[in-house]
Symmetry: C2
Amino acid sequence: MKQSELFTKTQKFAPKDEVSRNAQLLIRAGYVYKEMAGVYSLLPLGLRVLEKISAIIKEEMDKIGGQQMKNSVLQNKVNWEKTNRWDDELVDNWFKTKLKSGSDLGLAFTHEEAMTNLMKTFISSHRDLPAYPYDIRTMFRNEKRAKSGLMRGREFYWKALYSFSKNEEEHYKFYEQAQKAYQNIFRRVGLGDLTYLTFASGGTFSKYSHEFQTLSEAGEDIIYIDQEKNLAVNREVFNDEVLAELGIKNKNKLKEAKAIEVGNIFTLGTKFSEPLDLKFKDKNGKEHFVFMGSYGIGISRLLGTIVEVFADDKGIVWPAEVSPFQVHLIDIDAGDEAEKIYQDLRKEGVEVFWDDRPDKKPGEKFADADLLGFPWRLVVSSRSLQAGGVELKKRTNKEGQIVKTEELKNILKNQ
Amino acid sequence: MKQSELFTKTQKFAPKDEVSRNAQLLIRAGYVYKEMAGVYSLLPLGLRVLEKISAIIKEEMDKIGGQQMKNSVLQNKVNWEKTNRWDDELVDNWFKTKLKSGSDLGLAFTHEEAMTNLMKTFISSHRDLPAYPYDIRTMFRNEKRAKSGLMRGREFYWKALYSFSKNEEEHYKFYEQAQKAYQNIFRRVGLGDLTYLTFASGGTFSKYSHEFQTLSEAGEDIIYIDQEKNLAVNREVFNDEVLAELGIKNKNKLKEAKAIEVGNIFTLGTKFSEPLDLKFKDKNGKEHFVFMGSYGIGISRLLGTIVEVFADDKGIVWPAEVSPFQVHLIDIDAGDEAEKIYQDLRKEGVEVFWDDRPDKKPGEKFADADLLGFPWRLVVSSRSLQAGGVELKKRTNKEGQIVKTEELKNILKNQ
């Protein structure tokens, strides 16, 4: 894509009321637009990142038998009353609205009730189980304060998978597969080394759950990391009983750190299938409640987290697999050569963003490239051509190097 | 995909309160689930159709310079007060909600206000124009009655493109390109022969607009078709002035028909840029309001329309380009042969849905194939193998024919 054609532009400053670093950078670089606190529209570059993250999640969910669908936002209160989660006194993050007839509706902040109810249409026998529907979609939470940018939005993108199993054994077999799929996802989006499987509270669902926590000073959680075992414990369940259960003998070797919860997986058991009456018949015709689990990832939070943990003082730094483009081609007095390289790389399937703007100085173009944060910067100028080619620089390196034009493809394609 | 693994199943009956034919069929076949009147969740097969339609729309929008983004659902009332569209007395289809602080918010039913306001960040000079952002997303309309299934939902999928131009001339150049792109879209989803560019009222936006109307007895609009000119006039503007403008001399040769509005394009002019103060400076530094247009397609309505117009008494009939799968492979006592064909066709890139269920009778499998409505039915049985191959039947034909297995690929790939 040509930068001159993109309708967004970078900005020197973020809105004054924006206090989170991830949103400040994403707004300045033209990835998102702030509609109000906690509500961001995604601009073309931001949507590209969201779609790359979503595609990775989709691949990993499909691999473990997930089937994608789309739940509705509008929620019928009947289902939520059955599980005692409708009342604003009990659940404090509802957005509610009304039909013209006066009936109350809610905007989905999760789909356990809706999915459990929906599956009653399709589950009646042991032959219908297990089933793993999932959804990637916009969700809504009426947060009192929304100061963490993309990391805690009032309107946000979310993946939720629900597992429906015959019994605990079948459930835990899938639960472990889901754990591995989650590890694949965080590795692929570039957060693998910073993200710990974390033993945590199960909230109102179960005694314990597992979170995926990414180390960051911007995090709201405190975790205790066991480097050897490659796992962590959330402060909320950091007690002797839990440590014993995890086989952690020496409390003192654990490292305390701030972290962002980027995913969580819960064993729900029959907490939803009982009140919503989701049952199946086994081979002998005996009825049982379906055994459930839920598996969430905040996609816009993941996007915000990636910005928080990798950005430097010059701007965003995207890991290659989620970057909107791989190469930021900068054209300085190189005549037709820039266009030729642009077309050649595109033919090879390299995602190139070409700063073809004739009215911008080199310094402005370099600053934009740093702010936008694609993995490679490629400068074509009369000087680089005299030196034998083009100047290729990693976003994370200070210095670039001159590379022959004909070698470019191989370097970029073998990343 | 194997039918035994899909978590949805076909059903004999639709819910009693469902009166529209498109929703009855889509529910029975397991494409959608009815959450409440006018609100449907999309099941895996339904999502596949939605995504195929969306991909076609995206391609055609990108071709004319569109840049995809994602607007927010939650709407700040400030922008809507400026255009006098916030008040429920003036706009009767709002869903409204509140922040915890008590501030009013709306759920988007369109994005003229939000987009005009957003573009103030990026448009200040003539060099920033034209710009064509678009969005494919969930929208909300608080319909008093919702009896038309997917054709008029309270929550629905929608594509909206907004054009921002320097002047009327630049605007109409794009407007004509958009008309052609819309014709491509309706042709590609299979509705080309039934869909007419229709001269219509501009509502509160402008004197006239263009609609795309698809002939159907389920339609809510009445149009008058001029077959020669390949265009139509909506009854709401069917008067001598309009006929003269369109060069239609003989009123009597026009054919009256019921139709469904599947898309519309509007010239907005400065109706939004003036109240929201979206201006640009021309080459001489003189300020002008941006000249706008809007271009909508109801994607879930399009899905419902395709079902309405093509379904027969046995079920849905999908045009190939939007069908979730191209081939419904039915396995009757064919042993390993069915799996072999399944794998071979998949390797060739053919989308095959294999009814591998061992507990279903042939009659049930045939009924499901008709209800689901994929373009080709492929039966493999000991009888077909004895006759020299497999039985291939078009969904729209009564009889199939025996085809040699090795010829299958060529027939299916050359469609």
